[in-house]
Symmetry: C2
Subunit: 279 residues, 2 copies
């Protein structure tokens, strides 16, 4: 089996490490910026050149989400009839739209492994990144059944729990449970950094709670800027609701409405039950 | 040595567990709600009744911050001349103000150990909670030198790193690095819970990033409602700056200003260096 991976950062690099355990699987890779580093780290065996793309049995697209539509079209032009191509991007709708009329659309699986850390690049890759993580596959009725089965078998090998979803629905929901968390964390980081310019040593007062809340503010701008832009509309909606809730809280605090604040926080505590199951 | 602890939740209970290692230290405690549980968990040896308060060498106040001013005044009325009293509250200015004219003000140390978890109550207490954590002591010029030395020795025993600060400055800074994190996390939790009413299973899509950002939304409303109210003005200011940053981000996203978003996120990444030192 020959696997080609385009984009060798945290996600693509971890895919390379996890999939080389499949017997007789040779991993080829390419990355505009990280190829040499990925090769020297041993993530891949060889370079995925344009010439050998038609030889691949599996191609994984792991570049920033804004580059995926054009890249997917280019790759679908070159593959064998039985080749599986899947992406691992955090937004799905625009990519789905871009490839919908391609002759080889049925060779493609839109996938989103809910896996990542706040670190990026080939150095951050590790083989267990996907173990027991959720994986969302979208619009699967547009993939050939035998190709979809091949994909599901690979996701099983990675020990992911795969669920299906419409690509629009995916983008709307992921805006809330992933993209909004990143924005809230980045802007919290900014708020405290802005203050720190004048008030040296404020960070000496920060504890583990602050560190946890602001952890995602370490995430890669090269990855996240395109995600925010690609999923603009759902994110703007989620952000408006978040702003409404913050403004409501501000009003309660301004009016010193002890009872209302306590009730609100108590209702939110319910999320503890849910996140204990996730993390 | 006799130590009395009033308030036997996460912080007071952990103080009890950490300080019973001091040789010949008997720990008395009281708590309006948690006394029986704390006794049965073995956090304390005996009940701290009003009658035996004058026998204590050390008294720690670990009740919700809104109850501290009156409690501190009552306790200062009853102590021996060499008794050390300290609180462990997350806000300092109002308490400082309340006790400033008490005859025994110089027996009191305003302390804030930057330690906690998202869990609460005596069951959440553990002896290592304070180990290698920051501890802020305020307005120390108002404490008798020999009492202050006694306090610093106890904080050393707990292996805390103690720094000094003015109580107003403390409240202004802690609004940014602690209280604002809690609000951002609570309101993020609320935003996603509100959506989940209509969209079942959205939490199946949440990953470890969401869990980390929303972790503080599990915090105790009984502890945090009074903290928010006691530190109202500094929090409202921090919240306004956070709202400004979120609105700026929203405008950049609305205008699809790729370059500006990427630059902003890149600048915020600097916080990674800082939080790696904290957590």
């Amino acid at each position: 089996m020959k696997t080609g991976i385009i984009g060798l950062g945290l996600i693509g690099g971890s895919m390379a490490l996890a999939l080389r355990n499949i017997p007789n699987n040779k991993i080829y890779g390419n990355d505009k910026y990280n190829f040499e580093k990925a090769l020297s780290l041993g993530l891949i065996s060889d370079k995925l050149t344009d010439e050998i793309i038609p030889e691949m049995d599996l191609i994984i697209l792991a570049t920033p989400v804004n580059t995926l539509p054009q890249l997917a079209l280019n790759i679908l032009d070159k593959i064998k009839p039985e080749t599986l191509v899947f992406d691992v991007g955090s937004t799905k709708h625009k990519l789905a739209k871009a490839i919908e009329n391609h002759t080889n659309r049925h060779n493609f699986v839109l996938a989103h492994p809910i896996a990542g850390t706040e670190y990026s690049g080939p150095e951050a890759a590790f083989p267990g990144l996907f173990t027991r993580k959720m994986n969302i596959v979208c619009d699967t009725e547009k993939t050939k059944p035998e190709i979809l089965q091949k994909a599901l078998k690979i996701f099983d090998t990675l020990q992911m729990k795969t669920i299906e979803m419409n690509s629009n629905e995916h983008d709307r929901h992921i805006a809330y449970v992933s993209h909004l968390s990143h924005i809230s964390s980045f802007m919290l980081g900014k708020t405290v950094l802005d203050l720190e310019k004048d008030e040296k040593n404020i960070f000496r007062m920060a504890g583990s709670g602050f560190a946890s809340t602001v952890r995602l503010a370490k995430s890669s701008p090269a990855t996240w800027t395109p995600i925010f832009l690609e999923n603009k509309e759902p994110i703007l909606q989620a952000l408006d609701e978040y702003l409404d809730n913050l403004n409501d809280f501000k009003a309660m605090l301004y009016r010193e409405n002890h009872q209302k604040i306590k009730e609100t926080l108590t209702q939110i505590n319910y999320i503890g039950k849910i996140i204990d199951d996730i993390s």
